[in-house]
């Protein structure tokens, strides 16, 4: 069986700050990392491989620098890594991204003898865009069932049985047959750290295979900007309102003034 893990390189958004003088992002020193949820996806794939045997293939779509996250995946132990990169893929929204990823998966499947025996694992969402849309859209593109927000996973022969979170007070156990796509939450496992020999192997024995538009032969109207139905119309730093009332005085005065204002505002 083949396990495809889709991973994304993201900026460590928690460390992003805004320069109040210029009102722009301070980028210096913001590292690029593997999307944290995708590490859980990689860990699950490697654990399945250890228990049942499988070939684990990591895929990423992005600029050439995204090779770094694929090297990291190789260091964790994945068997093969593919980078889908081409200037023509740039500006893709989730529709175009999922289409491009599906071409990569289909190409790899075509060139193998296990055309229907596969699982796709994605992180529940990426921390930069936070949409969680690529997984379900990829499943639709591949015409396979999807189960999102998975926190527990079991494989029995050709069947997967998973726990999916619906809301705080409800968990549903769902099963389906392979091929299928799941997206995983952080709760599912603790991602392993690469070993020293894993890191050495990732840079010496293994390679990241580049697939460009010529290799994937996409329908040009479905990739990059032309394949994107949504367009970013405007990007801005959230404006904070200017009017702000500072309540001053002794502690008692502050309490009284505040309560009066809240009463006038009819919230108290």
């Amino acid at each position: 069986m083949k396990i495809f893990v889709c991973i994304k390189q993201v900026p460590a958004v928690a460390e992003v700050r805004i320069n109040p003088g210029t009102n722009t992002l301070i980028r210096e020193g913001i590292p690029s990392i593997t999307n944290p949820f995708d590490k859980n996806a990689l860990e699950l794939a490697l654990a399945i491989k250890e228990d049942h045997g499988a070939e684990v293939i990591a895929l990423s779509m992005g600029p050439p620098q995204a090779e770094e996250v694929l090297r990291e995946a190789l260091a964790m132990g994945v068997d093969k890594a593919f980078l889908l990169t081409d200037r023509k893929f740039a500006g893709a929204d989730t529709l175009a991204t999922s289409y491009t990823l599906s071409l990569g998966i289909k190409k790899i499947l075509r060139e193998s003898d296990e055309k229907r025996n596969y699982l796709v694992i994605c992180g529940a969402q990426a921390i930069d865009g936070d949409t969680g849309q690529v997984g379900p859209e990829l499943a639709e593109e591949l015409k396979i069932p999807q189960i999102t927000y998975v926190q527990k996973f079991e494989l029995k022969q050709n069947e997967i049985i998973v726990e999916r979170i619906f809301r705080a007070e409800e968990v549903v156990i769902i099963k389906t047959e392979l091929p299928a796509l799941i997206s995983v939450l952080k709760e599912i496992n603790n991602p392993r750290y690469p070993t020293t020999s894993g890191i050495v192997n990732a840079y010496t024995k293994k390679e990241v295979v580049y697939l460009n538009a010529d290799a994937l032969k996409p329908n040009k109207s479905k990739i990059g900007l032309s394949g994107s139905m949504t367009e970013v119309w405007k990007i801005f730093i959230p404006e904070r309102k200017e009017e702000q009332i500072i309540i001053k005085g002794t502690v008692e005065e502050i309490a009284q003034k505040l309560c009066k204002r809240l009463k006038d505002d009819k919230v108290l």
Binding site: V13, V16, I18, T24, L25, R27, P63, P64, A90, G91, T94, L95, I127, G129, D130, T131, G132, Q133, G135, P136, E137, A139, E140, P145, Q146, I147, T148, Y149, I161, I165, F166, A168, E169, E170, I173, I174, K175, T176, L225, S226, M229, T230, E231, V232, W233, K234, P238, R240, E243, Q244, I247, K248, V251, I254, A255, C259, R261, L262, D265, V267
Partner: protein, 400 residues
């Protein structure tokens, strides 16, 4: 679409580099060069002093869909144990505003089994019609059934806007529906507006962990799908209006299911209900310790408010997980939000900035929370909060 730099005009001043949020442009040998990261957001065009940057937008290629065929605003219902999820009522409020502006119908779509008795409750939300898709199999949520039924309904009825709750359920079926229709979908919108003339839905959402806001449009296709987090919009009651019920009995069989529910595990329902609370009192790192959090609890109690906290208070185990407010926790919009000792990291602000009145109490006068606060109190919360509790008690006792 493509982007060019006119090397003859470019002076290599670097304004564009400073204003690019994506490292999408750099200066090489004294001239600006577009990098792989460019998202065509056009921020650099606006700041280039010599107009050396050009974006060529191909004017809407061959229009595949006639946008004018699409009319109407839809809200898709979500339910649990035969109860409609609160986000649905919130979406009806916003959906009603959009429908009014577009002069089109507002419709609710319910996929379920036994909602006959509950349809009356929607008569106070200004709905024009309810599509009630009935099948015993729709009692529970199945991705594949929702995708199948919704896609067919949308193709047949052609709404221009479809609003969906950004819950684990909505975020499961919405992308797949969008893909099947080849329609644009924007997740977790915090603002929805209509662009005049084009009737495009301008969908504003936090991105980059809330550091940036992006406004997204879908100019060339319909419908426009958007998910909205619970707690983002308020429930708005409208004058009584009888909605037309369009009941559709759907023939679905077990064999249509590609995923099967093995079992549903119910956990104890959390008593915490931040999304619907009218008043929230929240604490942050500035509170100091788990013991000192008592005073925040007392304030919440005096106000009859729900208690919440910033991410750090959960990490330090001062509060339970389900009380976390912010990007990775809950999104709330109470009438009154009192932030005690919360500095206001952007990840927290995106979860509460839609609140009606925001009161911030913090020692640090430069704390970002003051930028969103309506009433700012610069001082020690451990002195101010007890006085506030006292005053509230006085008011309450004089009222009775």
């Amino acid at each position: 679409m493509s982007i060019f730099i006119d090397d003859e005009l470019c002076t290599g001043c670097g304004n564009c580099v400073d204003n690019c949020q994506f490292v999408g442009i750099e200066i090489l040998e004294g001239k600006a060069v577009i990098t792989e990261n460019c998202t065509f957001c056009s921020a650099c065009l606006d700041v280039c002093p010599v107009n050396a940057i050009l974006i060529e937008r191909k004017e809407f290629q061959i229009q595949k869909v006639d946008l004018s065929q699409y009319r109407g605003v839809w809200v898709v219902a979500e339910h649990y144990k035969n109860q409609i999820h609160p986000v649905v009522f919130q979406l009806l409020g916003k959906g009603g505003d959009l429908a009014y502006e577009l002069k089109v119908k507002l419709s609710l779509i319910i996929l379920g089994d036994s909602f006959e008795d509950q349809l009356k409750q929607f008569n106070i939300f200004g709905l024009d019609e309810i599509f009630y898709i009935k099948s015993p199999l729709l009692k529970h949520y199945y991705s594949d059934l929702y995708v199948q039924v919704l896609t067919e309904l949308i193709i047949e009825n052609k709404p221009e806007i479809v609003l969906i709750g950004a819950t684990p359920t909505g975020r499961d079926f919405a992308p797949r529906v969008a893909k099947r229709l080849n329609a644009g979908l924007t997740a977790d919108c915090t603002g929805l507006e209509i662009e005049e003339i084009s009737r495009n839905l301008l969908q504003t959402r936090p991105t980059f962990g809330g550091t940036l806001m992006a406004t997204i449009r879908t100019p060339n296709s319909r419908p426009q799908l958007a998910t909205v987090r619970p707690g983002t919009f308020k429930i708005i009651e409208k004058p009584f209006k009888q909605a037309q019920i369009r009941r559709i009995d759907y023939k679905l069989s077990e064999r249509d299911l590609i995923t099967k529910i093995v079992r549903i595990i119910e956990k104890e329902r959390s008593s915490v209900n931040l999304e619907e609370a009218e008043i929230i009192v929240a604490g942050g790192r500035g509170v100091g310790s788990k013991e000192k959090f008592k005073i925040i609890e007392e304030l919440a109690e005096a106000l009859g408010a729900e208690l919440g906290g910033s991410r750090v208070t959960i990490e330090l185990d001062w509060l339970e997980q389900d009380r976390q407010i912010g990007q990775t926790g809950k999104t709330v919009s109470p009438k009154l939000y009192i932030a005690c000792g919360i500095s206001g990291a952007i990840q927290h602000l995106v979860g509460m900035q839609n609140s009606g009145i925001i009161v911030a109490i913090n020692k640090d006068r430069n704390a970002p929370i003051f930028k969103v606060a309506h009433y700012s109190i610069i001082g020690d919360l451990h002195e101010i909060v007890p006085a506030l509790i006292e005053e509230i008690k006085n008011i309450k006792s004089s009222n009775t």
